[in-house]
Subunit: 324 residues, 2 copies
């Protein structure tokens, strides 16, 4: 198995949590890892093999120009390692825009795919997660791109979730074909007559269906998708905080709440973004997993596992052949 | 005080829950109500004065044509009652599109306002709710409309929440001015130099900030706003269901959970849409409160209170003068 190239310098908790997550992936899952970053920083902290990179693209740097100028940055070197066959996949919790730009510019786009899209898994209690794409790569989209997102999403659901015939839906503001923005109305027509590599189009769904079993793949533009994703994360965070505060407001409630500790921890795990091991950039010629900026070691460990699985599953070959 | 015209026939639980909510508004808050609907149905159920209307616009009917054709429908008659001064405001849990169309066609648009928008309150634990608009009236918007939504939202926050200098923000996918769709980038420029009737523009916020104290008024197009609103509602519903299921999965946890019953009920109340008494259609020459289709008596009771308060507060006059 080729190693997973992990950007050791990217993310709010780099390099410590990144290294800790990588160490777990190596020790507990036997996945080979290549840590990409400054040797002088990393050498003292880990025994994991290092791919040297002297520069770091900061979290708030402008993606395009950073990637073009910082040729020896950890992100660019990680993407090159995948391109050159030194690694089977890459993982970064760094600057999302720069991660996409590095992957796009160094690995290249799959032929006939107009734009790469970010596919994120949303928790859906009691059933398989929902694939949401585009969850932030393209702030403005046209109907042709949305259709390709649906087709890529279907291949992703097959490889990532093992769903043979994924149900593909459009995110709209009503279930009827006539509901939504002009982009969604046009897309509804396109989707109705298109093929989804074994998946099938089931119509529109609404925001309230995202965490349910209503669809396997939900397609939207990157602006709406990112708003929806962050709204879900924000709502969960606020709700869990409010619960903690309320449940520990008296001695009696605190005692009762402690009894429920295990059950509550399991719930948080179901809904926590770290559980899902990052989003995948679909449409580039290599596996690129984008982890939350706030990723801790668990998120990185999970992201490395997903990266290795996706490389092994040959999803990139499947995408290439389904768009050829 | 002029009565509140309540559409007795609209909503999933009409007429029983509508009447029950109206009765509470009359009995417990001393608010005069005019129930609008079929006398033969209503007379046997209540002593509240009735404004006769022989037709009902169904929940899934096409809004524009229904309102034009069904001149004796409860929605159209309620809007006419406000226009003619027989009522000070209207409330409906019926077909949202038809409610908007009735208000727009019968009350008319406020001069210089291009499009009415729906303003919804989002719970923000520990502080005043966040005003989200447009939460569904206009699936496609331009930058001029968005600016007016911000200005209307500021007036609404003053009247509805008592916030003297509301902080107005745009919903985007990054806080920096350059982030977002073309519509949001253009709007950022417009908002930066505009006046907000005492409020001020504070920049972009993201989906995760909607339920926090980050802003008082959040502006977006009706497509994104409706997706965000329904995503919040769906996330809360899924999370609360998962909590209930988990917390009652064993005898021990069920006992502990029962101890927490009151605290939990308070939490649900904070986050439940019924608590906020419906959304307001801003930009028409009258007070129109739009309640959830699934409204029970509590939601209707609260919506009637809000309708009466908004009429008393003379928000329509304030909107007229701030756009004159």
């Amino acid at each position: 198995m080729l190693p997973v190239a992990v950007d050791a310098m990217g993310g709010d908790n780099a390099p410590d949590e990144i290294i800790a997550g990588a160490q777990k992936a190596v020790d507990e899952h036997g996945i080979p890892v290549l840590l990409v970053g400054k040797p002088e920083v990393l050498e003292d902290l880990t025994e994991i093999p290092i791919l040297p990179a002297s520069e770091v693209i900061e979290m708030d740097a402008e993606p395009g120009s950073s990637v073009r100028q910082m040729k020896d940055s950890s992100l660019v070197r990680a993407a090159e390692a995948v391109r050159d066959g030194a690694a089977g996949s890459m993982v970064s919790a760094g600057n999302t825009g720069a991660t996409m730009a590095s992957a796009l510019l160094r690995m290249g786009r799959i032929k006939n795919i107009a734009r790469p899209a970010i596919a994120t898994l949303l928790p859906s209690p009691g059933t398989t997660p929902t694939v949401l794409l585009d969850s932030g790569a393209n702030a403005e989209c046209n109907a042709e791109w949305l259709l390709q997102f649906g087709q890529m999403g279907s291949v992703f659901a097959q490889h990532r979730l093992g769903i043979k015939n994924p149900r593909v839906a459009l995110l709209s503001i009503g279930e009827e074909p006539g509901k939504g923005s002009p982009l969604i109305k046009d897309s509804f027509e396109n989707f109705s007559t298109a093929e989804f590599n074994g998946g099938s189009f089931i119509g529109n769904i609404e925001g309230r269906d995202l965490l349910t079993d209503a669809a396997d793949v939900v397609v939207t533009d990157g602006f709406t998708g990112n708003v929806a994703l962050k709204t879900i994360e924000g709502t969960m965070k606020i709700l869990f905080s409010a619960i903690f505060e309320k449940m520990t407001s008296s001695e009696e409630s605190t005692a009762a709440f402690q009894t429920l500790g295990t059950e509550f921890d399991e719930l948080i795990k179901i809904f926590h973004p770290d559980t899902y091991g990052g989003a995948m950039l679909l449409g580039v010629k290599g596996v690129c997993i984008i982890s939350h900026g706030s990723s801790g070691s668990l998120a990185i460990e999970n992201a490395i596992q997903v990266a290795a699985e996706m490389a092994e599953s040959e999803i990139v070959s499947s995408l290439k052949s389904s768009f050829s």
